[in-house]
Subunit: 212 residues, 2 copies
């Protein structure tokens, strides 16, 4: 579904070059200037249709958000939400997460949000998981020493893998919930998937991990 | 139930002083001599009626096991199982875990098993949890640098707490399972509680944690 082409999406996106940044390499080390303030910058990898990051941007006006999503056909929906809401503390990158370190320099990103990331169930694909060491190493190169990864999923195997991987790679685990929606948490901003899955009675798991 | 007195239990236990060790302080640093070999020594805290540790001792004849259980009325059942099986690689301590460091010296215990430990749900009692920093600090004083804690429970809050506590206290998390009995694990030795709970459809969670 995600891959279905949406005619005209690219043209529409190009109308908002300050909202969907075409050349993030050019802003490496300069994101504070781009946002025109010194507020912290948090990113979400795999933003999808943007319910989470747009909700977060509304809830936290003193934080800047960058949503990264490789599929044009869904990021356009996220973009339209921001235009409708008139938010100024959020931008998007229509890019793959592989090149994060070309877009951000050390200390530039305070927090990485990962929500319902692809579980890549086959062992030979585990290295593509966004909580695999390969990606954690990239996050370390753009975060400060106490940077954080916040992660939600409904996939048990991916959650187990992520706990281990983060623990092995020098993150301290915090605020773990194995059943988020029954944990009494406040201000949980839901993703599109989260709403769908939890309505089906699926348990949502969440963790925060802080670099040592 | 656990606290119910069992008439004659203490007298029966006293008949087997080499199986239920009365003065473990006297063996501190001397456990290899006591077992008369150089095999690794693993302990279980809260041995109950001993299904787990007796099963482990049968399965791993080249490992020595020490079951620690404060309640005389249940440890006697564990003792009887060992007598019946004729095992020589297992002993018990009818003691509280508080004084572990008086019984064992650094490097003497390779692995600490915790199974279905008391969840102590109230916040003010969390310090009594066997995965609380207070206890982890004791385990560190009797384990080698790569010592391990292996933990099973059906209690979600205790499991969440334990993941965080172990991660904060410098353990690396490994082999995490949020649904042990559906994880394809082999050679899982069940405790009395585990059998009962899992028959009711309760999910069993498990983790291994290794000191860095």
């Amino acid at each position: 579904m995600r891959l279905r082409n949406k005619p005209g999406a690219m043209d529409r996106i190009k109308q908002f070059p300050n909202l969907v940044i075409d050349k993030p390499e050019a802003l490496k080390g300069l994101w504070k200037k781009q946002f025109n303030n010194y507020n912290p910058i948090n990113i979400e990898i795999g933003t999808g249709r943007g319910d989470f990051i747009v909700g977060m941007a509304k809830l936290h006006p003193q934080v800047n958000f960058i949503g990264i999503e490789k599929y044009t056909s869904v990021i356009i929906d996220a973009m339209e939400k921001v235009i409708e809401e008139g938010l100024t503390n959020i931008v998007f990158l229509n890019k793959d997460a592989d090149k994060l370190t070309e877009y951000f320099e050390k200390n530039e990103v305070g927090r990485v949000y990962l929500n319902f990331s692809d579980p890549w169930p086959k062992s030979r694909h585990h290295k593509r998981r966004l909580t695999h060491k390969n990606f954690l190493d990239k996050y370390k190169l753009i975060m400060p020493d106490n940077g954080e990864v916040h992660f939600k999923t409904d996939n048990v195997n991916l959650f187990e893998f992520s706990l281990q991987s983060l623990s092995e790679e020098n993150f301290i685990l915090q605020n773990i919930s194995l059943d988020l929606h029954n944990s009494g948490i406040k201000n949980n901003v839901m993703t599109e998937y989260e709403r769908k899955f939890s309505e089906k009675g699926q348990k949502i798991m969440r963790l925060e991990a802080k670099l040592k």
